[in-house]
Symmetry: C2
Subunit: 412 residues, 2 copies
Amino acid sequence: MLGGTNLPRVRDYNQGVVLEAIRVGDGASRVEIAEKTGLTAQTVSNIVRRLLDQALVVEAGSDPSGRKPRVKLRINPQAGYAIGALIDRDETSLVLMALDGTIVTRTRSAVDQSLGAQGVITQLANQVEWLVNESDIPRTKILGMGIGCPGAMDHERGIVYEPLNLFGWNWREVRLKEELVERTGFPVIVDNDATAAAIGERWVGGAQGVPNFAFVFMGMGVGAGLYIENQIYRGDTTNAGELGHITLNMDGPLCFCGNRGCVEVYCAPESMVKEARNRLQAGAESSLKHSYGNNADIEVDIEMLSKAALACDPLALEVVTGSARMLAAGITSLVSLLDLRLVVLGGKRLHRLGSIYQSEVQRALDARLITRNIRQVRVELSQAGEDAGAVGAAAMVLHEIYSPRLSELNLV
Amino acid sequence: MLGGTNLPRVRDYNQGVVLEAIRVGDGASRVEIAEKTGLTAQTVSNIVRRLLDQALVVEAGSDPSGRKPRVKLRINPQAGYAIGALIDRDETSLVLMALDGTIVTRTRSAVDQSLGAQGVITQLANQVEWLVNESDIPRTKILGMGIGCPGAMDHERGIVYEPLNLFGWNWREVRLKEELVERTGFPVIVDNDATAAAIGERWVGGAQGVPNFAFVFMGMGVGAGLYIENQIYRGDTTNAGELGHITLNMDGPLCFCGNRGCVEVYCAPESMVKEARNRLQAGAESSLKHSYGNNADIEVDIEMLSKAALACDPLALEVVTGSARMLAAGITSLVSLLDLRLVVLGGKRLHRLGSIYQSEVQRALDARLITRNIRQVRVELSQAGEDAGAVGAAAMVLHEIYSPRLSELNLV
């Protein structure tokens, strides 16, 4: 049930609304913000004064085009910073990001799976130290650390259960938040990688003003981060968006999750590699074979496969397109259920093959949606590029502090 | 982007919150309402006075159990009424419902498909007249008419596009809202049948206090109405919840929507009837055969099939269980994507076979969800029974006027 609301909450919420309007409408004036937000000129003026006092916002010249020159407002990028980390099976990648989305420093390290959860936690803590030292930004200016990670998890408590995509790591109820607060001294937010990416997309420029969209994130697995009615949606146990484990084929191949024919079985990088190896072993022609030998134990990895596909190697292209088609079918189901306006595709590996995925997903939505005759759904590649996961993780920290959230109005 | 909010909106919203608290906590006192909603005693007291003045709420004795007797508050059922209509391929069913969810009168009529959209509109208008006359409730007390209908549609404008489930009716951009406002004189709200059912479930008693749930509605087709964060979710073009057309099998049988292996192909009543006929024609043993002859042109309909399944006829039971299993797979995908706490099953035909569907869906969610080790999802049958669609349609009118909606706080 919904609770009531009161004036202090309304004040905080309206401040978030104005701050978002300034962030999105870079260089907007007070008058423009009032128009955009529906707030009175007086309310906007009061809030902007507060934001200027807090140095969250700066006045940046004036726009002389109107009858009366209007002072332009901008986010002060130096007002605050956040660290973002993405945990994937093969590497951890981190960024230190300014309030306006600018990346100050970044780092990536391979993961040694044999060290287990504690090894990854130590690695992350070391990377954070490195980022902070490298950047020369005072620790007091860093508002916190966000971590994007495969699920299932408890976002509130920052506990990661057995992430099936980290299989072999022997993770079990890892208290990621608690451990990293202790090691780094920063406030920590843990969430699903795809959810982080969705928040990041909105923060750095894509999907702005789109009330309902999904960020389809491909790491080692596949997931979706969901914006619903302008709010990030986490679901009842903070595990929404499990696109990788919806069923595409009841009688399909067995998935590690215990079911058959899940999206991930067909789409994940590992599945593509397996498919390519099988085809090569069965004697298919490919540039991969010429470069990497003809023996039965063919060493193809996702990097090679991606390069070959982009170079139009027929086998590689077929395998990637096959993955893209199946992902597109899963996304069609997602859009049929949620009636979204936009699908953003991202994550390091998907990003490199972006054009292939984008065209397959667009084609499927245009052909298969039940509402295809009355609307078109946009498909875009993430504006955050290969760093979408880490950028999203950093954006979670800023989002938590600065974004307007209707749910914050709700007293109970 | 979100807009700001202001005091008049907050006042309206808080009134909705208090009214909902009274509706749900039938007989609650002012003190209990303040606890539940987080509002101050003073705010609750002011709002309750307004609600008493408007006769929306009545004082109904006092609870002497506390130190100080507390006056119990109840919704005044006579404060307002709504008409609800469900359009399905074979019949239109209507109810006249009081503010507290009590059904005053109901009616059902078969649909003559050959009369097309105009025939159905005339039939609905006549049924409305009959309901109003039969009930003896003054027209001024009737707040409006809600209509639940298969999609695709434009909920805002009340236009129904070609509903594929009404195939053969030759519907094309039918201005249902406009036409029925004209014929009945009541304000009209048109929405998807499943969305209406979800609103109804919350209004009449099921799913109360559950922030995230789906109402899976089976008419001639299958759809889902979605509550997300305590708000009905309609999607970008008001066509969310198309559960019937997500893919269960990429290479499955052709669906009328143009794709293969959709949920509806396997689950819809028509599919079950077809499957039963095929099996009978292939010589399967069944009580259906004994009752209805052994000829090739076997006249089985969904009523017979349902009765036979409930009487444990093996063929009928297998067919219905098969439908339930496939629906369960679709629902599992829905819950994986939205991380819901509750799935409510309903609609006339599903309701009659409720126990079979309920157990198959529960089994699938327990076995297949990726979060199955950390949570259980509840599966319930609709408390609105066979009238879930029409009750939901009526509830839409009351919901529109009286429910608290966070989105109403949003200025732009």
